[in-house]
């Protein structure tokens, strides 16, 4: 018959070969491999200061007949440390959920028990199938003056531990981040970006429990965020974007009156609209109009700024684009 044995890391373990006498001749194996006789004290197997790698199946065989006399599965682990518990209402006013985990693994199976007390009443927190280590509660009463007390106890073969959370109904309200955040450039507006988003789908009643939003944005090249708080609506136009720079934008949500801000939404990237460069087509047109004239004047290369190095005609003269246009117009008139 098989056993399971749980031992703490660092403990000294003595395994007896079932009902065999101390002075019986036996052979021990660990996961099928023979164990050296030096580890034995008579027919007892001594494991000092066990570590995790020593977990496995230990079998004891009678010396000559090689009959299996005893078998045990050794699991080395630790008793549980204080668990980490978190409770949150992302679906106010429907209810709240609690989720938990252990700060360090125990390497052996653990069982969790959660209790919720509201005043004098015991409430049942229904365990979720997915994800594990999570349960949810439905509010029966709203606007309660009495706090909720949640106690999580974790137990394993080597010990137990627990933690408690006490909170007001309003304090744990924290929506999920806004969904479907979209940022688009605005045609013909090089400093604008249009951002829109949706209420998180987990928020059941935005009509009676409206959300307010917090938008943050910055160009990728800078570290400093800009912030806008919006008390209603699910869209906003940024009007002070740096032209041509790619932006990163995020939105967060909060119940209008109670609780805390959600985490930031998934980040979206957008670049404001920029004007298409025009000079290639215009230059061709100017060369056509001036080639027919008798004037030896030639329009300088089309640049938006005064180009001091431009050489025009026979003389070395700095000519601006606008001046060039006037001269070109005069030459056409004199045809």
């Amino acid at each position: 018959e098989s056993h399971i044995q749980y031992e703490r890391v660092g403990a000294d373990v003595t395994m007896k070969c079932g009902s065999m006498d101390w002075d019986a001749a036996v052979t021990w194996t660990a996961n099928g491999t023979d164990i050296d006789e030096s580890r034995l004290n008579g027919s007892y197997l001594i494991l000092k200061n066990v570590d995790l790698s020593q977990s496995g199946q230990y079998s004891c065989y009678e010396g000559s007949s090689w009959h299996l006399k005893y078998q045990t599965y050794l699991r080395v682990g630790t008793p549980p440390k204080e668990p980490v518990l978190m409770c949150r209402s992302n679906n106010y006013p429907k209810g709240f959920y609690c989720s938990w985990h252990l700060p360090t693994p125990t390497y052996i199976p653990n069982s969790f028990n959660i209790s919720v007390i509201h005043g004098t009443k015991d409430m049942v927190c229904e365990k979720d199938a997915v994800p594990k280590n999570r349960c949810h509660i439905r509010y029966i009463q709203l606007f309660s003056t009495v706090k909720y007390k949640v106690t999580l106890t974790v137990t394993n073969a080597l010990g137990k531990n627990f933690t408690t959370l006490t909170f007001d109904e309003f304090a744990i309200v924290k929506p999920d981040p806004p969904e479907s955040v979209v940022a688009k450039p605005v045609p013909n507006n090089p400093r604008r970006l249009e951002v829109s988003w949706q209420n998180p789908s987990s928020w059941p009643d935005p009509e009676s429990f409206p959300l307010k939003f917090f938008l943050r944005y910055r160009p990728l090249i800078l570290d400093q965020w800009q912030h806008v708080e919006l008390s209603d609506g699910t869209s906003h136009t940024i009007t002070d974007a740096y032209a041509g720079k790619e932006y990163i934008i995020q939105v967060a949500a909060k119940d209008n009156d109670i609780g805390t801000w959600s985490d930031w939404s998934v980040a979206v990237h957008a670049t404001p609209w920029t004007e298409e460069p025009k000079h290639l087509t215009t230059e061709a047109q100017i060369t056509e109009t001036t080639s027919a004239s008798t004037s030896s004047f030639m329009a300088p290369p089309t640049t938006k700024i005064c180009d001091k190095g431009a050489v025009v005609g026979s003389g070395a003269m700095a000519v601006c684009w606008t001046a060039g246009l006037v001269v070109a117009a005069y030459s056409v008139l004199f045809i």
Binding site: Y139, I140, T145
Partner: protein
Amino acid sequence: GDSWGIFTFLCAALCNLPALPALNCSEELGAGQSIQQTYDLTRYLEHQLRTLAGTYLNYLGPPFNEPDFNPPRLARAERAPSATVDLDLWRGLTDNARLAANYRAYSRLLCYLRVLDGQVGTAELRHRLAHFCASLQGLVLSIGGVMSSLGYPLPAGPAGPPAPPGTPAAPNDFLKKMDDFWLLKELQTWLWRSAKDFNRLKKKVPPAVVTLRLEARGF
């Protein structure tokens, strides 16, 4: 040359056309606007209460001023109607019932706060309480105003003496402090609830009535 003449003629013709009808909008201040004002007032009071409660609980001393203090509710008669309500019941409240519940609660809470005002020791606390009571009075009046504008009758005011008959005075100093603790808790919860009540009312009450009066000036 001819184009100039045509242009002058058009100008003259346009100038002599009768003026377009002038739109004269008169907006009747509907209940919608006063609901918004009442909502804003509850938010203001909630902020005020945080400071007031902090000061008052410190005055009461430990354990009342400890953040983890979570005493059981003793089976004493509740002085003011509790904000706690069944979720489905709260959803199904008529506008009248919703407003009346708020009106009654704050009227009673105001009474008890006034009694408190007369008892506290420090001048700072008296000053804060007085200021808060004044604001709370404003809230009661505001709610009353909304009810009247919607045609609802005001609930009967609280009886003269602040404590309803039958409520025993706190037998000792500690229990008296407990009563004060719960009074502040109840007030805080009501202010949280009212924000939600008035959110709901904002959506359900018909928007402010806007009348357009067209005045066409004669030819």
